[in-house]
């Protein structure tokens, strides 16, 4: 009987050069300069950070650029305990949704310089930037967020963002 072919190797390689788009370009350029910018929806007034150039709720362009603080509130978080390949930080660490002051949606980042089990909802945090000469147009220009030591924000300040 003829042997069945269970597998063949057919190498495929496709190269792409992505286009970030206008909104992401402006955001990433600002990040390289140590600033965070969002864009406001002209209809519902929500400030998107990072901006994608459109309000996915209203389906309209978000042209107006809005400066956003590098401080904010941990709305929710998880403690990562499982090591995996390519992990940049040692476990356990905290991945968090952070509502920056002036932003309408939370963004994703790490919370460090604090024991993982001490992180809590409502905690006030601030971005820890790389030194100016090491910053690039990348979210990695913010090393992580760390507690500011301010009193926790009240639940009502972020309940809509959970």
């Amino acid at each position: 009987m003829t042997e069945l072919v269970y597998g063949i190797k057919t190498p495929i390689r496709l190269d792409y050069i992505y286009v970030a788009g206008q909104a992401s370009s402006r955001f990433l350029t600002a990040i390289a300069e140590g600033r965070i910018v969002g864009q406001r929806c002209p209809q519902c007034a929500k400030v998107y950070v990072p901006p994608r150039g459109s309000c996915p709720t209203c389906g309209v362009a978000t042209g107006e650029e809005v400066p956003v603080a590098d401080t904010g509130i941990v709305t929710t978080f998880c403690i990562v305990n499982i090591p995996f390949a390519g992990q940049a930080v040692r476990v356990p660490y905290v991945s968090a949704s952070i509502l920056l002051d002036g932003a309408g949606i939370p963004l994703f980042h790490l919370v460090q310089d604090i024991e993982a089990h001490d992180v809590r909802m409502g905690m006030r945090v601030r971005a820890v930037w790389l030194p100016p000469e090491e910053r690039t147009p990348s979210m990695n220009s913010i090393r992580h967020f760390r507690p500011t030591g301010e009193p926790d924000a009240p639940y009502d300040a972020y309940r809509e963002h959970l």
């Binding site: 063949i8 057919t10 495929i12 496709l14 190269d15 792409y16 050069i17 992505y18 286009v19 970030a20 788009g21 206008q22 909104a23 992401s24 994608r52 150039g53 459109s54 309000c55 996915p56 709720t57 209203c58 389906g59 309209v60 362009a61």
Partner: protein, 353 residues
């Protein structure tokens, strides 16, 4: 069948490579324009359907990100086909036949510039015996052109004449990409790209998007003075194996056309927008559709002068419908294709009144 019509159409002027805008940024103004022209509220559509390919974008679920251009809140009823937007329109038309909704938004987009389109299209071939040899899209089209020449179905001069006419028509279309005039002598003296194809026989590479609004019955009559009624729409597919097909002919187009109502007894169409990215493919399609001399073929300049892959077929329907909506013609045909060498074909017959 329920009466369903194209009531508005919009497209982005295609460019070789949009290095500034991402897909959402290209799509957003096009969707907004089609919606505004339709007179139907953004949040009033019963169904939304899109056509695109993640292989062009080079990232999985790129079509989900495109929803940012639509305003999908409150949550919408939405679907996507990994095919040209003409098939998204077909799905929307079927959905409207259910009778419980009256309108649908259809859109399509593609940025071919991000990767190497010729190689990307190779991945739609048989992964065991064909794709590992990496025949690209132009190679295969050349094989098809050769089959047609050898079968005596058309000549290289016929092919060049298609290119010359397409460029002439494109000059009047701001949404065409190749708009420089081309003479028959220049065309025929060009060096072969992939023999027998020369540069003018092949489409440009384009980034672009298009959107169409469909409406049924009274809603269509209310929002549009001259809706382009879909009198018939059908699509047929041929075997994936290129060797199993007669590449010089398109029986799937002929069959789809018959089922779409393009018969010898039916009144002739005045315009036929054909999705023929290669010059010889128009000749094969004209033959399959038995188009008479009086039919204006691809007066937009066609896919040979602008080819935003995944939107090119939907643009054919939009261009045909546009001519009914603006009162230029009363009966038009639109055709869309998918797969290598015209493997799958969709035919749509549109009518005024």
């Amino acid at each position: 069948m329920r009466d369903v019509a194209v009531v508005s159409f919009a497209q982005s002027p295609p460019v070789r490579s949009d290095t500034i805008r991402n897909e959402v940024e290209i799509l957003m103004p096009v969707v907004a324009e089609a919606i505004e022209r339709s007179g139907i509220g953004r949040h009033d559509f019963g169904f939304t359907c899109s056509g695109s390919s993640d292989y062009l974008a080079g990232q999985p679920f790129a079509f989900v990100m495109a929803l940012d251009a639509v305003g999908a809140w409150p949550p919408i009823a939405e679907s996507h086909v990994e095919m040209d937007g003409a098939w998204a329109l077909y799905e929307a038309w079927v959905r409207l036949q259910h009778g419980d909704i009256d309108s649908a938004l259809v859109y399509a987009f593609g940025k071919s510039s991000l990767g190497d389109l010729r190689d990307v299209l190779t991945l739609q071939l048989d992964p065991y015996c064909v794709a590992p040899l990496w025949p690209d899209a132009v190679d295969l089209a050349a094989l098809q052109a050769r089959a047609g020449l050898d079968a005596g179905v058309f000549s290289e001069r016929d092919m060049a004449a298609v290119a010359v006419r397409s460029r002439r028509d494109a000059a009047a279309n701001p949404n065409a990409q190749l708009r420089d005039p081309l003479s028959l002598d220049d065309a025929l003296s060009g060096a072969p790209t992939a023999s027998p194809l020369r540069a003018h026989d092949c489409p440009p590479i384009s980034d672009g998007a298009a959107a169409v609004v469909l409406a049924a019955g009274d809603l269509a009559r209310r929002v549009c003075e001259r809706p382009a009624w879909i009198r018939g729409i059908d699509h047929r597919i041929e075997p994936a194996s290129l060797g199993a097909r007669d590449l010089a002919r398109s029986p799937s187009t002929a069959l789809a056309a018959r089922h779409a109502g393009l018969t010898a007894e039916a009144p002739p169409v005045e315009v036929a927008e054909l999705h023929a990215p290669f010059s010889h493919q128009e000749l094969i399609l004209r033959d399959a559709l038995a188009l008479g001399e009086g039919v204006a073929v691809s007066p937009s300049g066609g896919a040979l002068t602008a080819n935003p892959v995944m939107a090119t077929g939907l643009i054919r329907i939009g261009e045909a419908a546009r001519r009914i909506i603006d009162g230029t013609v009363r009966r038009a045909l639109a055709h869309a294709t998918s797969g290598p060498c015209l493997q799958q074909n969709l035919v749509c017959v549109l009518e005024a009144g």
